[in-house]
């Protein structure tokens, strides 16, 4: 059973991700509002919710997928086997994607695909654990992350705002654990919380939803907001809290709490708004298509806007990355992103209508 709320939220995350990547990769970013840099404006901030929302939904979807398989009568062993295969598939796909899109020197940049693959393996391993220890693990992952980054000397892995590790076992391992783009610490908190939240928001037939995700979400948003307001007012938080301001790279405690809280608020709200009335609307149809092909869209949108940059650079006889972040002005990059999303919908509808599968179909064929 598909939940329109999950489809809509995942589509929202994908759309935000597409827009962020187009603007970041085709245009300059982290400038100032006066330079015409979209990313420097306050309205750009919600785009930081894309990856947290997507990874939280990974945990939610995994829990619902396991429930569906169990209801079908599949054995624990079969579910574990499929889960491990899916996790390994995503990790492998993540490496292939890094090599083909970001070129071989960025093989171990620990992007979101490798992270989701690793998260699936971890969720599979602790599928039998009860909610308490999983929430404890999520809290511990967030709490321990600043200390891990300090131990690993996080800043030494980042050059001009980009993750640039050495190709040694130590650097690669630290990238996976705490210094990469999407390291296990603290990002694992999102799928773990999603896994624990799923039964509270989407109870089994005959059960009733509980309100703790909304309360927890509001509390987390309030904590993050208080920390941000206190910082902007010139207050210095106690050192032991290790608050570092609102940044995604690294994912600070404030960022994780704020985005996790917002995602926890959004999930039950969307469930109440979208899952109880008419399910077949234009919104649910569009969101269903984007959600079903989220992985394909993630891969395709990178190929569509990154490969032309490399080809253009190589054709000019210069460094292949010459045009990266310089190709288009930001508003134009935003327009191209929207154009991509508009074109992606009929493309994937056509794939569905003709019975063709995207990468998701390949994953199901290999892993289930």
């Amino acid at each position: 059973m598909r939940y329109p709320s999950i489809d809509v939220l995942r589509s929202l995350a994908i759309a935000m991700m597409v827009i962020v990547h187009f603007v970041e990769n085709l245009s300059a970013w982290y400038g100032s509002p006066g330079d015409g840099d979209l990313t420097a404006h306050g309205f750009w901030r919600p785009t930081g919710l894309a990856a947290p929302l997507f990874t939280l939904l990974t945990g939610v979807s995994y829990r619902l997928w396991v429930r569906r398989r169990e209801a079908r009568g599949d054995s624990d062993e079969a579910i574990t086997r499929s889960s491990v295969r899916r996790g390994l598939f995503l990790i492998g796909l993540g490496f292939v994607f890094n090599v083909l899109v970001w070129l071989p020197e960025d093989t171990f940049n620990w992007d979101v695909l490798t992270f989701i693959g690793a998260a699936l393996l971890l969720l599979t391993a602790c599928r039998g654990a009860s909610s308490g220890p999983l929430l404890l693990a999520a809290v511990a992952a967030v709490a321990v992350s600043p200390a891990l980054r300090e131990l690993a000397d996080y800043d030494s892995f980042w050059t001009q705002g980009y993750f640039d590790p050495g190709l040694t076992l130590g650097d690669v391992g630290l990238g996976f654990l705490c210094t990469g783009y999407f390291p296990v610490f603290p990002w694992i908190a999102f799928p773990l919380v999603g896994y624990v939240t799923a039964p509270a928001v989407f109870p089994v037939r005959g059960g009733s939803a509980t309100g703790w995700p909304m309360v927890a979400g509001a509390a987390l948003v309030a904590c993050a907001g208080t920390a941000m307001v206190a910082r902007s007012a010139g207050g210095e938080p106690p050192a032991w809290l290790r608050l570092q301001g609102w940044t995604m790279f690294p994912a600070t405690v404030e960022y994780v709490c704020g985005t996790l809280g917002a995602a926890l608020l959004a999930l039950p709200l969307a469930h109440r708004l979208l899952d109880r009335g008419t399910r077949d609307t234009m919104l649910t149809r569009v969101a269903g298509t984007f959600s079903r092909h989220a992985l394909s869209i993630y891969l395709l949108h990178h190929a569509v806007h990154i490969w032309p940059l490399w080809i253009w650079g190589a054709a000019a006889g210069a460094d292949v990355t010459t045009h990266w972040q310089r190709a288009l002005p930001a508003p134009m990059a935003l327009a191209v992103a929207i154009l991509f999303l508009v074109c992606a919908y009929p493309l994937f509808r056509w794939l569905e209508a003709t019975g063709r599968d995207g990468v998701e179909g390949l994953m199901r064929w290999l892993c289930d």
């Binding site: 429930r67 039998g128 220890p133 999983l134 404890l136 891990l148 131990l151 690993a152 130590g170």
Partner: protein, 225 residues
């Protein structure tokens, strides 16, 4: 004289009063009327005739004995209706029993969501057992001495309706229900206790894992430099 009683909770009763010398059995029309309720059981005893089906009964009896026989027939009908209700509830529970029986042997994490349902079905079994226990003494009571026409009609109807035997069968069936749900409750309880202690073990594992990661990161960082 003929009249039909149709109280809301009682069976429909057709009573035909006649003098003893006129009693020659129930008419075909009366039997057909009774047959609309289901298979017909007929008895004839000392000048009285009774035809009965679930929900309907016809009595042909001398006027001076109508009230006593009518009361006996109504009492039988009430007991039969109560027994049928329990039989129907027990029969409706068999699919649940088949679905729940595996849980009496093995309870797993995925079954935790079914605990409330199991509890509800256990309570239902106990309630059925209580209803049967209250009903049973009325179904298997000793014959009245000296016998009257009404008591003999009642006894004969109970024999034909096999009330005592049916109560015995129900007793056996409910024993199966109770056994299954008792075992399910035990397994679920054991599982919940094990789960709580496993939660503690997982919490320890999480803390140890965090400590391991801290050491690992420290080692990797030291190795890198």
């Amino acid at each position: 004289m003929t009249h039909v009683d149709t109280p809301t909770t009682e069976p429909e009763l057709l009573v035909v009063e006649a003098r003893p010398e006129e009693v020659a059995g129930l008419s075909a029309a009366a039997i057909a009327w009774v047959a609309a309720g289901g298979p017909v059981q007929s008895i004839a005893l000392h000048g009285a005739a009774v035809a009965w089906s679930p929900g309907r009964a016809a009595i042909l009896v001398a006027a001076e004995r109508v009230e006593a026989v009518r009361a006996a027939v109504l009492e039988f009908c009430r007991h039969d209706r109560d027994l049928r209700a329990i039989e129907a509830d027990v029969a409706a529970g068999w699919p649940d029993i088949e679905a729940d029986a595996p849980l009496a042997f093995e309870f797993r994490d995925r079954d935790m969501d079914r605990r409330a349902g199991l509890g509800e079905r256990f309570r239902r079994s106990v309630a059925l057992r209580a209803r049967l226990a209250r009903l049973a003494p009325h179904l298997d009571r000793p014959p009245l001495h000296p016998p009257t026409l009404a008591s003999q009609v009642g006894e004969r109807l109970r024999e034909r309706g096999r009330l005592a035997e049916r109560a015995g069968f129900l007793d056996g069936q409910l024993a199966v229900h109770e056994r299954v749900y008792d075992l399910c409750g035990q397994r679920a309880s054991d599982w919940a206790i094990a789960r709580r202690s496993r939660g503690l073990e997982w919490a320890i594992v999480v803390l140890l894992a965090v400590e391991t990661v801290l050491i690992l990161v420290d080692l990797l960082a030291a190795g890198g430099t």
